[in-house]
C-alpha cells in the first residue's frame, strides 16, 4: 500500500470526538486547582499546629506541598483516569476531543501540546523576571526604587531555575519530543502513556511553588540552592527544592518513556541505524536523566532533610557543603546536554529535508550525540574550579574540552548535509542556521570557561552569563521556535506566516546579540554576576544591554501572535508541506487522534533521509500481523 493511499484513507473514525469547546471541559483544571490549594493549606495548617510553629516554616511548607501536589493530581483526573482503574475499579471513558487537553490522560499528543502552552507561559513569567533584573541594572547602584538586593537575589534565582527547568528542559523534549516520538517510530503511543501524561501534571504546581516562593520568605541562593546559604535564606528554599525535584521527576518519567519506546516500539524494519536522528537526540538526553539525576535527587533530599529533620549533611559539625556541589553538578552540568542534544538533533532532522540532501555522516552524528551524553557525565567539577584541589583541575579541564570533539561531529554532519545542496530557507530553517551560529559562539567561549587559568579569572563574571545564554537561549530557544514552526502543520494542519516568522528571526538574532555579546566584554572588564550593583565605569555597557534586552523581550510577542493567529487563520497546509521523508509526515495533518490506522502498520525499507532523485520510498504499509 502506498503512502498516498494511507493519507487518503478516511480516518474520521480515528480522529476522535469533534465536539466544539465548552466551558465545562475546564472542570478538571478548576477541580485540580481547588483540591490542590485546599490540600496544601489543610496539611500545612495541621502540621503547623502539631509542630507548634507557623504555616510558612519549612516543615509545614513541605508537608503542605506534598499534600497539595497529590490533591492537585487527583483533581486533574488521575484518580478516575488511572488509580481507580488500577485497583480494579470502573474504567474511565477515553476523552478524544478537545477536552483531553484540559485533563489527565494517556494521549501523548495532547500532553505535548500542554507542554508547549506551559513552556510559553513559564517563558513569559521567567522572562519578566529577566526584564526586572535588567531594569535593576540600568543604574550602577542599588537605587531602591525598583528592587532591594534581597528581591534582586530572589528574582535572578527564580529566573534561572524556571528558565532552565521550566522552559529549556522540556521545551524541545516535552513539547516537540513527546509529540513526535510515537509518530517517528511508527507506533500510536509511547510505552507508558499514563506516566507520560502524569509528567505534565506534575509541572504546574512545581512551577507555581517556585514563582510563589517569595511569599514564604524566598531564597537567596540563586538557582543552585547551595548550602549553607540555603539553610539561612528563608523558607522559600523549601519550595525551590521541592519544585525543582518535582520537575526533575517529570523529566525522568519522560526519559523512561523515550528510552523504552525507542528500544521496544520501533516500527518493523527500523534498525537502530534507521532510527530518526531526533529520536537519537532524545535518547541521548534520556540516558543522562536516568543515570545522572540520582546524584542530584539525593543532594536535594539531603538539603531538605537539613532544613526540616535536623540532619547535618551540609551544615554544622558533620556538614560537607562541597559535597552538595558535587551532587548538584553531577546532573546539572550534563543537564545542559539534556537541553541541547535534542536541539542538535532537530538541526539534523530539518536540514536534510530543507536541502533535499541525505544526512551527512549519519553514523558519526549519532556517535556525536551519544558521545556528548557519555562525556558530559564526567565534568561537572569545572563549575567550581575555584573551590577544589589542584589535583582535580587538569582532569576535569581535559574531559570538558574533550566534549568539543563529539560536538564537532554534529556540526560537521550539519555542514556536510547542506554543503552543495539548495537550501530552501523558510523561517524554521533560518532559525536553525541562526541557532548553529549562536551555539558556535557559546561553545567556543565555553572553552575558556573549561580552561583552568582562564576560568580562575572569568569565574563569577558576566562572561559566564554570556556563554550560557548563547548556548541555551541562542541554541535551544532558537531551535525550539524552529521546531514549532516546522512541525506546526503537523499539529494544526496550517502553516505559520512566513514573513513574520522570518522577521522575528532577524529581530531575535539582532537583539539577542546586542543583549548578550556585550556581556562577554563586561565580564572581561570585571563585572560580577549575581550582584545588584556594579562599578560606574560599566554603566554605559549595561545601559546598552538593558535596552537591547527590552527589545529582545518585546519581540517574543511576534512569534506568540504568529502562532496564535496561524492556528486559527493560517494557510492550510498539505499533509507533507516540506516534502520530508520522515515517517511522521506520511500520515494525515493534523495528526488524527489515532495516528496510525488500525490494521495497517508502517514498515521501514530504507533510510528516511535519502533525497536522491528517484530514491524509493523509505516506508511501505503492511497489514498488521494477526497475533
Amino acid at each position: 500500500m502506498a503512502t498516498n493511499e494511507i493519507q487518503a484513507q478516511p480516518l474520521d473514525d480515528m480522529g476522535g470526538d469533534k465536539s466544539a469547546f465548552a466551558i465545562s471541559m475546564l472542570f478538571p483544571l478548576f477541580r485540580a486547582t481547588l483540591w490542590g490549594l485546599t490540600g496544601y493549606f489543610a496539611a500545612a495548617w495541621i502540621t503547623a499546629i502539631l509542630a507548634g510553629t507557623v504555616i510558612v516554616d519549612p516543615l509545614p511548607a513541605t508537608v503542605g506541598y506534598v499534600a497539595g501536589l497529590v490533591c492537585w493530581l487527583m483533581g486533574s483526573g488521575v484518580w478516575e483516569g488511572w488509580i481507580r482503574r488500577a485497583f480494579g475499579g470502573k474504567e474511565a471513558p477515553s476523552y478524544t476531543g478537545i477536552e483531553r487537553y484540559f485533563r489527565f490522560g494517556p494521549d501523548s499528543k495532547s500532553t505535548a501540546v500542554r507542554y508547549v502552552v506551559l513552556n510559553i507561559v513559564t517563558f513569559f513569567l521567567a522572562g519578566m523576571a529577566a526584564m526586572a533584573i535588567r531594569i535593576e541594572l540600568l543604574t550602577p547602584d542599588s537605587t531602591g526604587w525598583w528592587m532591594s538586593e534581597i528581591q534582586y537575589n530572589q528574582t535572578f534565582g527564580i529566573h534561572g531555575l524556571m528558565m532552565l527547568l521550566g522552559v529549556v528542559a522540556s521545551a524541545i523534549v516535552g513539547g516537540v519530543g513527546y509529540y513526535l516520538i510515537p509518530l517517528m517510530l511508527g507506533t500510536r503511543n509511547v510505552v507508558f502513556p499514563k506516566l507520560l501524561g502524569l509528567s505534565w501534571w506534575l509541572l504546574p504546581p512545581a512551577t507555581f511553588a517556585v514563582f510563589m516562593s517569595p511569599t514564604i520568605g524566598g531564597f537567596q541562593t540563586g538557582w543552585w540552592g547551595y548550602p549553607p546559604l540555603a539553610q539561612n535564606s528563608g523558607s522559600g528554599i523549601v519550595w525551590y527544592v521541592l519544585g525543582a525535584a518535582t520537575i526533575l521527576i517529570a523529566s525522568l518519567l519522560g526519559a523512561i518513556n523515550i528510552a523504552g519506546t525507542m528500544v521496544y516500539m520501533r516500527a518493523k524494519g527500523m534498525s537502530l541505524g534507521r532510527v530518526p536522528i531526533f529520536i537519537w537526540g532524545l535518547f541521548a538526553a534520556a540516558t543522562i536523566l536516568i543515570v545522572e539525576s540520582p546524584a542530584t535527587y539525593t543532594g536535594a533530599l539531603m538539603d531538605l532533610s537539613d532544613m526540616i529533620l535536623g540532619s547535618h549533611f551540609y551544615t554544622g559539625p558533620t556538614g560537607h557543603p562541597l559535597a552538595y556541589m558535587d551532587q548538584f553538578w553531577f546532573l546539572f552540568h550534563p543537564e545542559v546536554y539534556v537541553f541541547i542534544l535534542p536541539a542538535f538533533a532537530i538541526w539534523l532532522e530539518i536540514l536534510p529535508a530543507a536541502a533535499k540532501r541525505p544526512l551527512f555522516a549519519r553514523g558519526w552524528a549519532i556517535a556525536g550525540l551519544v558521545g556528548v551524553s557519555m562525556l558530559g557525565a564526567m565534568l561537572g567539577v569545572h563549575h567550581y574550579f575555584t573551590a577544589v584541589s589542584d589535583a582535580r583541575m587538569p582532569i576535569f579541564m581535559t574531559i570538558t574540552e574533550t566534549v568539543s570533539i563529539p560536538t564537532g561531529f554534529i556540526y560537521l554532519s550539519a555542514i556536510g548535509t547542506i554543503w552543495g545542496g539548495r537550501l530552501r530557507i523558510n523561517a524554521a530553517v533560518l532559525l536553525v542556521l541562526m541557532a548553529m551560529m549562536n551555539f558556535l559562539v557559546g561553545g567556543l567561549t565555553g572553552i575558556f570557561n573549561a580552561d583552568v587559568p582562564a576560568d580562575l579569572q572569568l569565574h563569577n563574571t558576566y562572561w559566564v552569563i554570556a556563554h550560557f545564554h548563547y548556548t541555551m537561549l541562542g541554541g535551544v530557544i532558537f531551535t525550539w521556535l524552529a521546531a514549532l514552526y516546522w512541525w506546526f502543520p503537523k499539529v494544526t494542519g496550517r502553516k505559520i506566516n512566513e514573513f513574520w516568522g522570518k522577521f522575528h528571526a532577524w529581530w531575535f538574532l539582532v537583539f539577542f546579540n546586542c543583549t548578550f555579546f556585550p556581556m562577554f566584554i563586561a565580564g572581561l572588564d570585571g563585572m560580577n554576576r549575581r550582584i545588584a550593583i556594579y562599578l560606574p565605569y560599566l554603566h554605559e555597557i549595561n545601559l546598552f544591554m538593558s535596552i537591547s534586552s527590552f527589545f529582545l523581550g518585546a519581540g517574543f510577542l511576534i512569534p506568540l501572535a504568529n502562532l496564535l493567529y496561524s492556528w486559527r487563520y493560517g494557510p492550510k497546509a498539505d499533509a507533507n508541506p516540506w516534502g520530508s521523508k520522515g515517517l511522521e509526515w506520511q500520515i494525515k495533518s493534523p495528526t488524527p487522534y489515532v495516528p496510525y490506522p488500525e490494521g495497517v502498520d508502517p514498515e521501514v525499507v530504507g533510510p528516511n533521509d535519502n533525497y536522491a532523485p528517484g530514491a524509493k520510498e523509505p516506508f511501505v504499509w503492511v497489514p498488521t500481523p494477526s497475533k
Partner: protein, 186 residues
C-alpha cells in the same frame, strides 16, 4: 465488574507485554543508582565505624526477611505464568505482610540513632527512602490483588503490571542486602 467498551484506550496503549516489562527496567536502574548514591554517601558522612547503639539484631532479621521474601516472588511469577490467580494473590498478600514488618523494623531502628550525627543522618535518610519504597510496594501489591480479584479478565490482559510489581520487589530486596552490607557490616 465488567469493563466498558473502550476500544480507543486499548488502541492507544499499543505497547506489548515485552515492551512494558522491558522498559520498566529503566525505572529500576534509576532506583538502583539512587541507592548506590546513598551507599557511597554512608562513608563520607558515617565514617567507617557502625554505632554501637544500632540494633544489629533487627538489621539481620530484616535482611533475612527480605531474602526470604524472594520465595513468594518466585512463586508468584510462576503462578502468573500459569494464570493461577489464587496463587498470585496469596503470594502477593504474603509480600504485603512482609512490607508492614519491614516498615516497623525501619521505624524502630530510627529510635536507636540520632539524625543529627553523621552516621545517624545518612542511615535515617537512606531508610526513609526504603520506607517510601515499601509504601509504594504496598500500594502496588494492593492494586494488583484488587485488580485480579475484581476484574480478572482485565488483570489477565495486563499481566505486565503484576510482573513489574514483582520485579520491583526483587530489586528492592537486592538493594536492601547491599544496604545491609554497607551500613551494618562495612
Amino acid at each position: 465488574m465488567a469493563d466498558a467498551d473502550n476500544s480507543y484506550a486499548r488502541l492507544m496503549d499499543p505497547a506489548s507485554e515485552r515492551a512494558k516489562r522491558g522498559a520498566f527496567f529503566f525505572l529500576v536502574l534509576f532506583a538502583a543508582i539512587i541507592f548506590a548514591m546513598w551507599d557511597l554517601a554512608r562513608f563520607l558522612w558515617g565514617g567507617t565505624a557502625v554505632p554501637s547503639t544500632l540494633n544489629m539484631g533487627v538489621g539481620v532479621g530484616l535482611t533475612v526477611l527480605m531474602l526470604a521474601s524472594l520465595v513468594p516472588v518466585v512463586v508468584a511469577r510462576k503462578k502468573l505464568d500459569r494464570g493461577d490467580d489464587g496463587g498470585v494473590v496469596s503470594s502477593m498478600a504474603a509480600l504485603l505482610v512482609i512490607s508492614l514488618v519491614m516498615i516497623g523494623g525501619i521505624v524502630y531502628n530510627w529510635t536507636t540513632l540520632t539524625i543529627g550525627s553523621g552516621y545517624g543522618g545518612i542511615y535515617d535518610i537512606t531508610t526513609i527512602w526504603f520506607l517510601v519504597h515499601f509504601v509504594a510496594a504496598i500500594l502496588a501489591l494492593l492494586a494488583s490483588i484488587m485488580k485480579i480479584s475484581r476484574t480478572p479478565d482485565r488483570a489477565k490482559r495486563e499481566r505486565w503490571v503484576s510482573y513489574n510489581v514483582l520485579t520491583y520487589w526483587g530489586g528492592v530486596a537486592i538493594l536492601w542486602v547491599a544496604f545491609f552490607i554497607v551500613f551494618y557490616i562495612a
